[in-house]
Symmetry: C2
Subunit: 354 residues, 2 copies
Amino acid sequence: MAAGRPTIADVARVAQVSPSTASVVFSGKASVTDATRARVLDAAASLGYTGPDPRAASLRRGSSGIVGVVFEEHLGAAFRDPIKAVMMDGLAEGVAPLGAGLLLLQDDAGAPGAVPASPNLRSAPLDAVVLVGCSGRLADSLEAVRGRGIPVVVIEGDAGPGIPRVELDNREAQRHAARHLRSLGHEDVVVLTLPFDASRRRGWVDADDARAPVVDVTRERLAGARDVFPAARVYAAGGSLIDEGLAAGRMILARASQRPTAVIAQSDLLAAGVVRAAEELGLSVPGDVSVTGFDGITVDGFAPYELTTLVQPAAEKGRAAGAIVTRMIEGSDAASISFTCTFRQGNTTSPPAR
Amino acid sequence: MAAGRPTIADVARVAQVSPSTASVVFSGKASVTDATRARVLDAAASLGYTGPDPRAASLRRGSSGIVGVVFEEHLGAAFRDPIKAVMMDGLAEGVAPLGAGLLLLQDDAGAPGAVPASPNLRSAPLDAVVLVGCSGRLADSLEAVRGRGIPVVVIEGDAGPGIPRVELDNREAQRHAARHLRSLGHEDVVVLTLPFDASRRRGWVDADDARAPVVDVTRERLAGARDVFPAARVYAAGGSLIDEGLAAGRMILARASQRPTAVIAQSDLLAAGVVRAAEELGLSVPGDVSVTGFDGITVDGFAPYELTTLVQPAAEKGRAAGAIVTRMIEGSDAASISFTCTFRQGNTTSPPAR
DNA sequence: TTGTACGCGTTATCAA
DNA sequence: TTGATAACGCGTACAA
């Protein structure tokens, strides 16, 4: 053991046992006499050996105990999204049986030409990969990963055939909320959507500008609303934030002559912003305008309002993703799984004023 | 290449070159004839070889490209804290030069006896570790990590001697805000603190119950406020949330006879909650009560208020941590670094009403 | 520019 | 219960 850190072989030598015995002492994979264990532990202590090198163990074992989580957006943005936060919680739980940790990866293929110095899918020692609403950019890296036999799962997105997904009934759920509004008597509604694409352009979406949203969630929820209100006007927000909803709400509710009787927002934060905009304009919710959200999160600081919304099982989605990769790692092949939102009536919807 | 995935040796064999040549083709560490490169690449393609196994490469190279980030709280909680979110962004940038990814680790030594199945410090292949406001629980794991020669940095916390820190001038900054209030003429202020300890007990803190907060940030900021207002009453919140501030604000501002003229909140979210509580009670801010925050974040949905607050350089803190571990990995030993908050006057403070 | 040979630190297997 | 041996898959001196 000339220089460098001591290895398990050094420990074994000092303890006068074989390397395999020393290994067993640390891994606990087999029983060892108390006496030998003590000898090994003593030797380790005297040498300053603190346990097997994870890298070597990982190579030998063929697994690293690491699950990669790929976000399509900036980390900070992902962190601020309450749904994603809860989902991560669920995912952490879901991979716990694997004893795995979550490695944050950013899908930043970004500008072509830019050096993607960041650790990508190819270079990280992963046991599995979870894609969170990924776009198609990392198709090649993904191919490499799958080629290596590493399980991949997508949450709310489509990463191609053969990749199991964790899905949400966005369209059906949104349709449910829309029907609720129609049954209350609403006819003139505006749909406030999440961003259509990476450009995040805000504003009214022309009816004839029938560009379908690139983002799956946006598209599906919009389709659900249009199933009930085909002629609904559409306004795109720049992100899922109260402030975005507030700005949009000001535009949507500004002119009395063109004011809808209800706004279908594609997220609770947007909905909360619309409610604030209504307040600002002296309108009452739900008296003058009804508002529905989507997600079923607790909007911090929004009491006493309680949004009429679709509650999505965010934590379960994460857990499911974890469970799927767990099964795949164990060799069984796992199927996609689909979750259902629950309609929850709050106090932000009522029949339209006459 | 009997069974299993193809290795670089298989590729070399098929391409009729030596393994080392094949290796070089993938790493680009040396120049190779175009012809040979093509042969190797072709062989790889035909075999379905997608590049060097990260595990083996990691062992060989001695580094994994992974930086562990240890949170003391539930992942979901950490994600929801805006300051931590921004910090993570900065950290991601800070470790980019390393090409490293961030591995989320939870400081869940938790109940003794519980099986900490999760990947801990000891079992993860880390190049460095960043502790985020850690408590002392993982002292032993930390020792093992350091024993292995892995760099460790702490953000806002004390992990013992020899561990560089990224610090904030919490006490001085909070003192600055307190002085601002005093110079405006305030004398009766209440300090609304972050949780004192893991129990997160809410409520008034008796003056004689002089228990010092266990949490560094809470303690330091409280000390700063007391430097100016030694007799200030203290109310502890259960977390950094608008709703917590709202609940606390209701208690603090409820009885006119005991109503302070100003509230020093230890976070912007708490401050926003206090402002909402004041509104609820028909009090105007800052006319009837002044409120200061801490952090300098944009509180979503809080416009048109602009908190008088201390702006902390959250992203820079993360970047600095990244820079420090980068330097340490390169062998140079790095010192702690301390950041300063900037006082920003908003529209939530003014002289007290007579 | 290419090839040979060895070591990185473990752990699985099998025999004793 | 313990020990000997052989991979695990790659990178890199060093020699050719």
